[in-house]
């Protein structure tokens, strides 16, 4: 009995010990600044002045009347839905293709993953170069084959701005979705396919009755993660456009940066950032609740 108690102490302490560094880091670099940001959102803090006052919900009330905020909010929703949707579509399609056996599949796999591995700053600069009207590769190509007579202003013209930024984001983000779907596809029991084939199922029936149901959970996770990721997108949009001419592609994340860092209005900018956090918190709660329920069902 004594021996059993000793064994239990060791077993009980070990996981906490291993988890402690990670938990401490999460608290240090995430929870603490997050709480601080939410706190600042309730003050009139500016970056250069140490003194500040508690203003309650003043910043949030002011935001409700700020047309730039509502414009950025709309943009963020549209951006999350369109980019997230395209990521899902492309990621799923590519996963289906790469799940088949063909020569050089490994090479294609690696090449398709590359955009996800490249740092966003590099991707941003690549696309800025691609889209440039003077020395951009894309304009050179289109002019060279006489498809256009004058360069397209990809990051200026209202017709091209959104598609240009979305394409760059999809190029970076879809490999992650693809990886998730590939993992999902490989977890489907091959016996299900064999059994369905034995029952005379065709490829469409296999797809709709075996593949899709088998990927249901992966689909759900991907959809939610994509909405979360795309709603808080910052890096690439910032590097490419900083919100675009006249704020045409200003997202909540870029607006928060404009206010908090460039404008030095820490309190007001924190309120914008906190709203992003509240939205993501709600989405994350939904994610956690539903995935937990799914796990229990299994």
């Amino acid at each position: 009995m004594v021996c059993e108690t000793k064994r239990s102490w060791g077993a009980i302490l070990a996981p906490y010990g291993f988890l402690a560094p990670a938990v401490i880091i999460v608290f240090g670099v995430l929870i603490y600044p997050l709480v601080y940001a939410v706190y600042f959102s309730l003050t009139d803090k500016t970056m250069l002045v140490s003194a500040y006052h508690f203003v309650g919900l003043g910043n949030y009330i002011e935001l409700m009347g700020d047309s730039k905020f509502w414009q950025a909010f709309r943009h963020s929703i549209v951006f999350a839905l369109v980019t997230g949707g395209l990521n899902l579509f492309l990621g799923f399609g590519m996963a289906l293709v790469l799940n088949r056996r063909f020569r050089f599949r490994g090479v294609f796999h690696t090449v398709l993953l590359l955009p996800w591995v490249i740092p966003p700053i590099v991707t941003g600069l690549i696309f800025r170069w691609l889209y440039n009207d003077f020395y951009g590769y894309l304009n050179c190509l289109l002019l060279g084959v006489h498809l256009i007579e004058k360069p397209i202003l990809f990051l200026v013209d209202a017709h091209y701005l959104w598609p240009s930024v979305i394409i760059a984001n999809v190029w970076v983000e879809y490999p992650f979705v693809m990886l998730m779907f590939m993992a999902g596809l490989q977890s489907i029991d091959p016996d299900l396919y064999r059994a369905a084939k034995a029952d005379g199922a065709g490829s469409m029936q296999l797809f709709f009755h075996v593949t899709l149901p088998g990927l249901q959970r992966v689909f759900f996770v991907n959809v939610l993660l994509q909405i979360i990721f795309m709603f808080k997108t910052f890096n690439l949009v910032w590097i490419l456009t900083q919100g675009g001419p006249g704020g045409r592609i200003e997202l909540l994340s870029t607006l928060a940066f404009h206010y908090a860092f460039e404008g030095t209005q820490t309190g007001y900018g924190s309120a914008v950032a906190s709203i992003i956090f509240y939205v993501l918190l709600i989405l994350s709660c939904i994610y956690v609740v539903i995935t937990t329920r799914k796990i229990k069902e299994r």
């Binding site: 291993f18 009139d44 250069l48 009207d133 003077f134 990051l155 200026v156 460039e262």
Partner: protein
Amino acid sequence: MARQGKTSALFILSTIVLMWTMIFCSTSVVHAETVVNFSYPPFGYSAGAEKTFWAKHIKAFEKMNPGVKINMTWESWNNIFQKTTAAVESGRVPDISYNSPPQIMPLAKQGHIRPVDDLIAGLGGATIFQENLVNQFVLNGKTYCVPNADANLVMCYRKDLLKAAGYTQPPRTWDELVEVAKATTSGRVYGLGLYLGKTYDTRQVYAGMMWAAGGAMLDGNGNVALNSPENLTALKFYTDLYLKHKVVPPGAVAWKYGDSANIIGAGQVAMTPMWGGYGTLIEEMFPDNYKNIGFAALPVGPSGHSGSWSGVGGFYIFAKAKHPEAGGKFITFMSQPAIQKEWCAISGNVSPFKAIAQDPDLTRFDWYRAMAKQSASAIQTGWLNSAAVPGLEIIGGQHVLAEPVEDVISNGLTPEAALEKAHDHMVDIMEKAGRQ
């Protein structure tokens, strides 16, 4: 299981002991001498030359001052502001740093940095500096920074493109600017590279034009005066270059810092206002074309003088510095004439020291001559010396001065409406900041 638990506990304990041992050892080493922490944002035109410069002179200083070590950390101009603020709030500041008035003076006003009048007296007194530069660091009769460099925007132009259009000199007035820009605009080559989006560059060029038109951000009483007729003249001139004269590339709406330099190097614009410091880099950037690139003072506006955004920078000492004396010694060392001359040639700055500003070793560069011509006269934007006025730092950061340009170019507002909107925005910011 028990063995596993013990092993885990032992592993964690050893890691903690090892970490603390490392921390203890490293702090012991550091505390063996006087370490002056120096936070510095590089100008970055020729980063390699700049690093070599600092390494050489820090080594020389340390040799002259045994027991003193300069621990220099390089910060980006983009985030030194945020890092300094965070350092001040945490109470763990470096000993000395380097920046410009909009960042330094609010810190001075709040007592976070100490006056350096003693250092300036040791160097020969405030009169050895160009008055309009050193005055930007004065608050309530005390000086908070030892000026070290002054940069401003000049007109960069392509000699070959101007010559092809029949001009041997860059434009000297606004009228000439329009004329030359029109003459050099042909096909895919545009006469003038001008930032048109909500960027630092846009506000800097527009602020210069405001000044050249006789305008300013604040009137003599410190009230917002953005909607003045002079500023409107400047805004109309700025936006007409794109909308009416069509001498600016349409893609300039999305230009970011550095784009104008690349585009003039590629010969796709004939002229563009840019930081004179680029002159130090132009040969490296465009080895085939650099001889075709010239620099001149910005054209004169309706006021009878030109206007350029000016950025004077220098050393300052934090109030909570651990080694202010050693930091001061280093600042004095770096302010020696020979080092100043070398520094200006490397960093692309005009010397704030009167005795050096027009030194022939420096004025042999045309980028330096253009900058020095503007720096020595009083054609600043006229508001940086009010950096301690609450709200001005917000206005700088929020691109309030770029907003009217963007509103006219991209949002279809009239110059009058755009300027009025920016004026109201500025008043709002100043009022809120004043209440703090």
